[in-house]
Subunit: 435 residues, 2 copies
Amino acid sequence: MRAVDLIIKKRDGGTLSTAEIDFLIQGYTAGTIADYQMSAWAMAVLFNGMDDRETTDLTLAMAASGEQLDLGALGARAVDKHSTGGVGDKTSLVLGPLLAAAGLPIAKMSGRGLGFTGGTLDKLESIPGMRIDLSRSEFLTALDQVGMVIAGQTADLAPADKKLYALRDVTGTVESIPLIAASIMSKKLAAGAHAIVLDVKVGSGAFMKTLDQARELAQRMVSIGTLAGREVAAVLSTMEQPLGRAVGNALEVREAIATLQGQGPDDLLELCLTLGAQLVLLTGKDRGLSAARRRLETVLATGQAWQKFRQFVQQQGGDVRAVDEPDRLPQAAVVQPLPSPQAGYVQSINALEVGLTASELGAGRERITDPVDPAVGIVLNAAVGDKVGQDEPLLYIHAHDSAAADAAAARLAQAIALSSEPVTAPKLILDIVQK
Amino acid sequence: MRAVDLIIKKRDGGTLSTAEIDFLIQGYTAGTIADYQMSAWAMAVLFNGMDDRETTDLTLAMAASGEQLDLGALGARAVDKHSTGGVGDKTSLVLGPLLAAAGLPIAKMSGRGLGFTGGTLDKLESIPGMRIDLSRSEFLTALDQVGMVIAGQTADLAPADKKLYALRDVTGTVESIPLIAASIMSKKLAAGAHAIVLDVKVGSGAFMKTLDQARELAQRMVSIGTLAGREVAAVLSTMEQPLGRAVGNALEVREAIATLQGQGPDDLLELCLTLGAQLVLLTGKDRGLSAARRRLETVLATGQAWQKFRQFVQQQGGDVRAVDEPDRLPQAAVVQPLPSPQAGYVQSINALEVGLTASELGAGRERITDPVDPAVGIVLNAAVGDKVGQDEPLLYIHAHDSAAADAAAARLAQAIALSSEPVTAPKLILDIVQK
């Protein structure tokens, strides 16, 4: 078998066999197939696509290229969640405790923020003492004792995906739905959970700009998971405006805490309950959606979810006082309101611009090695559809100094559109894709 | 400017500017743009094409990546010919003397055979003493004194094309008409001739399998040459059967000599006169096609072309006795006929198979470093449309030993189809493309 023949086969619209895909991924991982061949193949895939079987084979080959976590001892209860990435997305911090408190163990290997999106690890590190670099045994102990653990990669999961993704990033071959689906699912399958829910973001602040694209990606991932013997569902949720109100590491932790204490923004809670209920259904714990949702609402109302979050923080070395009294979390030197230039209704909030501005303030990074400032960010005071008075703050900028705050204010003033007519708030949950 | 953005632009159907194409080729030549980016870009070009302006920019950028021969002293008379490669194609050996004798200096940098096609350099080296590794000054002196020179690359012509071609070969990106056109024309432009004729072969023994493909390639190359300020025409000629009768290095030299002495096969002479007349027209030496053709027929009839060939051989160190008495050329130990299994008409001769069999006999090579045997090859005794009697030889196999001859006979028996009904000989010249 020669790589060039497989490139030509795909280029000419053919379908690669399981053996052919294994040959490509094993060769690429071992270094016997060169970057220049894989990038040409990826471009051919971008034009000619892959069917579900090919995509599943690619996913499994990449998952098999490194370590695979065995969560078999947890049986069908082990759950995981993946979000395609958005602005203000602190879902994992709320959903994890809800699920763990409801008896569904969740072990997440998360990433850091890059570009306009934040990363769960950066958010957790704003809690003093919190460790995200756990050893394998610490990771499994935490999962066993708390039922919830979030850490950096403790295992070398899907190294072929890591290598291929880095290559796609510099060769214009990122935007292929089958390749995106295989990339996400290879890591999820290797991480070992039996039931997986995917939060596919749609809109200007998301990677998927249209509902059609997002639905195609969701269907692909659900098919792959199903063909690979897992239980998978996907929720399509809007990213036309940031999720919740807070964007920035410590600011988002505060919002997650508030939500676990029953005082968070409606959209964040609603998304967490929707994602969580799908997982409860997938594990077979409840038969109907309303029972599944009620199970999560109960652990929220009784405070069990909040207590689970505290245990989680404590288990990973975090200072529980900082979550009990969130004023102990890092705070920015300057907090500056952005007043509304007129009375009216919020017509749109450009999530991408909010994310980029928060990153510019120091909450995010351009290169993966850059440090982040845990304190800075943006807290919205109004969402799309809300009525605002003239000079009423549209949002608050948390900055290191007033020069940074002024620069952010100028940028954010362009990112929010107001209307004199009432505006309907956008729908949060756009669709649910099940097998 | 970033390479990845240019890949994405082409991927999404955009048109690259002159500056963008220069950036890619200069960066690739300098090594600042990686193979994996160029292969992804080439695949995007394969799918989305390039317009004439982009293709010309690519050609000029590749021509400018290395040395460029200045034949300006020869003015509009300097001519060149390029063939896209076929089986039994010894055109350069006949056309060169015809043109030089007619007062059109021709300086050709040629290549060696690879796969099923022979190379002019290998053919010339079957003449004892003949040197094809000329220095720059030897090359220009020969051109000046004889009006004709054929040698290996004395200059580092279009190194970007060399690098890109090697990459395309292993990444499934060879079969793009604009990339093929740019590759050929970059070397021709750098070689400095003012008037260029292109012999685009069509058929089973050629790289272009259909007339449509060949015409598209021809039009592309004529457009590029014209936009680059040269005079260019293309002849589309059939490669459904080998050109002439001989396939193999010394055998082809003998056939070229016979042709220059007025005793060669009709198709070879006709193609040379057609290509040559186009060049005479392009240089403006004659106004009409019939006058241009007559000029070449005259130098053939008077023996001036044959004398020019002798001068050419002498100038490059070859033994003139070997061309005056071709039996002094290398001869194979075994010459074995392939008898016709039945009486009838030759319906088809698979040129690709004949080329591959000659290569297997030792006339060609799989790797560019392999040696070739100058003596071996195949001489057809009948062409498509010819009537043959039972047991009459269809062809003669010139081999190193009888085992090799038997193996070739078995293969060639499958490559020739006979018919009991009369068969029309295929048309040699399929079309001529002018600006």
